[in-house]
């Protein structure tokens, strides 16, 4: 393999109170890759992303972004290292307008200077957002909100985009659109770590994936390998 990975998760365990959600999880994401973490409900996928974003602290292990251990980094500084989180259920600021949400994405000082430039970029990528710039984000459809959430994440000028269940709670037609968005983000050169239950579809847009079950990595490999794996076909794809 070539250079060191962009993101390394090293032996992370984490949980809430006495409940353990992750047991000694390790994975890596290389620059330019799109990687998925797949698995059923309650496997610990969201917890994993929350650990990477420092929303919760791991009880063991560490996360390293481009050689910087995230252990001592507070949550609000993670974004400065180039990690942007598109949270589960989008978590927009519903009463702020689309443009204000995007402005929040460029909140940290280094990003503020490039606000205009990136806003144009996001509007070019998602013309729909430009049309709705003055609308309260909470009043848009689910797919549009997902677009806005991705746009907000891109406003920080990230290297790595963490996406938590971008298809959750969306109608099947919209889900397809959301995965198309993921493809476009990839085409723009972003590195993506995506967490999904919608295994069939996510494996179409990523290079590699890890299967997470009850807090442990059970399997990993290229998308093609996982799609061909008998266990995954039986347990998750119903084939």
């Amino acid at each position: 393999m070539s250079a060191a990975p962009m993101l390394e998760v090293r032996g992370v365990s984490a949980g809430y109170g006495t409940f353990r959600a992750l047991f000694d999880v390790s994975l890596e994401v290389r620059a330019g890759e799109a990687v998925a973490v797949i698995g059923p409900n309650g496997a610990g996928k969201t917890t994993l992303l929350r650990v990477i974003s420092k929303i919760i602290a791991p009880t063991a292990g560490d996360v390293v972004m481009e050689g910087t251990p995230l252990g001592p980094v507070p949550a609000h500084r993670v974004v400065e290292l180039g990690i942007a989180h598109v949270p589960e259920h989008r978590r927009l600021f519903p009463r702020l307008t689309v443009e204000e949400n995007l402005r929040m994405g460029a909140f940290h000082p280094a990003a503020r200077a490039k606000f205009r430039e990136r806003l144009d970029f996001v509007y070019e990528l998602f013309p729909r957002m430009k049309e709705r710039r003055n609308q309260a984000a909470g009043t848009m459809s689910g797919g549009e909100q997902q677009m806005c959430a991705i746009g907000r994440a891109l406003m920080s000028g990230p290297k790595l985009l963490l996406m938590d269940e971008p298809s959750a709670g969306l109608a099947p037609v919209i889900v397809q659109q959301v995965f198309n968005l993921v493809k476009r983000i990839r085409a723009e050169g972003y590195t993506v770590l995506i967490v999904e239950q919608n295994i069939q579809q996510v494996l179409q847009v990523v290079d590699r994936a890890y299967l997470l079950e009850v807090g442990t990595i059970k399997q990993s490999g290229s998308s093609a390998e996982l799609l061909a794996s008998p266990e995954i076909r039986r347990a998750y794809l119903g084939l």
Binding site: I55, A75, F93, F107, H108, A136
Partner: protein, 333 residues
């Protein structure tokens, strides 16, 4: 540019008011509205972000008592006493705010903490009766001829009117500066979703502390101004639960999300209090509290944006803003 014209006309009109030959009573009402308008604006600076304090009487009390005690006991001019009191309030806000914000004490729990803070200050004032006069209150020692810039005492009501007007304008200016700052976005985002705000780079704890300390500092100045005007202070009237709740009531009634909302709230509560006083005198004890409570419930249900918010909505009905917050105090989660 043209948006400034009404403001300039308004300020000029206000500045001309004392020249109209108003009687002392009406001038007194105006000064009262300005002082309380400033205090309510100070509360709303943080209250509008869902940080509901039920204990701003604590900061009013520090402003009124620290300044008065330094003047009465040591002859220290309020010009120095006010900065000392403001510094004290900011430290107090920091000590109470930091653990609250660090450990995410929000909503009802935050309100309860502030409620306790107000009581602690009130009881401290009562307890230090040798220095503060306890529940009997204390009188600001007057200068011999009634007017002294050094003592910030003005025998002439008109002069005090201008002092109050300046302070009130200062409050509106701070409100506007906050309204146009990134801090506002940071706090609106935090009030909707702290995790999401942190993940875009908002230091939630620091943003909340900054606005709390600002609000505390302003309220302290308001307390000092109140003492200098009334020349008599009492733990109930500056730090009692009644006054802390009245601040909340007035701002909700006037409008939490508009610059002039708190001032309209001050006019509304003053008119209400005067009407009740004139109509019923002191015959029915606790009547004002009962009416406040009832009105508060009605406002929250029927006019969550307050008087100014509802008026603005009526005026702009044609071009409705879908983004306007639906309910004043309700946090999003």
């Amino acid at each position: 540019m043209d948006k400034r014209i009404p403001a300039v006309i308004g300020i000029a009109a206000l500045a001309a008011v004392p020249q109209l030959g108003l009687g002392n009573y009406h001038l007194h009402l105006l000064i009262t509205v300005l002082i309380w308008g400033f205090v309510y604006t100070s509360w709303s600076v943080m209250g509008r972000f869902g940080m509901v304090s039920l204990g701003h009487g604590a900061f009013l009390g520090v402003g009124a008592y620290v300044v008065t005690m330094l003047w009465n006991s040591y002859g220290l001019t309020p010009w120095l006493g006010i900065p000392a009191a403001v510094a004290m309030s900011m430290v107090m806000a920091l000590l109470v705010g930091y653990p609250c914000f660090r450990f995410r004490i929000v909503g009802h729990y935050f309100a309860l903490v502030t409620l306790a803070l107000g009581e602690v200050v009130r009881l401290t004032i009562v307890g230090l009766r040798d220095q503060t006069g306890g529940s009997l209150g204390m009188t600001v020692t007057a200068v011999p001829d009634g007017t002294s810039l050094l003592a910030l005492q003005f025998g002439e009501r008109t002069v005090f009117f201008y002092v109050a007007l300046l302070v009130w304008l200062f409050g509106l200016w701070v409100w506007r500066v906050v309204d146009r700052s990134m801090l506002r976005y940071a706090l609106e985002a935090s009030s909707e979703d702290e995790d999401a705000a942190a993940s875009v780079g908002v230091n939630v704890t620091r943003a909340k502390l900054a606005i709390t300390m600002l609000s505390a500092a302003m309220t302290t100045l308001g307390g000092a101004l109140y003492a200098q005007y009334q020349m008599y202070i009492n733990p109930e009237t500056v730090s009692g639960i009644g006054i802390s709740l009245q601040i909340v009531f007035a701002v909700i009634a006037g409008g939490l999300f508009t610059q002039l909302g708190p001032t309209v709230g001050a006019m509304f509560t003053l008119l209400l209090a005067e009407t009740l006083r004139v109509s019923f005198g002191h015959d029915i004890h606790g009547l004002d509290g009962t009416v406040y409570g009832l009105l508060l419930v009605l406002f929250i249900i029927y006019m969550p944006k307050g008087i100014t918010g509802s008026l603005a909505a009526l005026l702009t009905r044609g071009r409705a803003e879908p983004g306007a917050p639906a309910a004043g105090l309700a946090p999003s989660r």
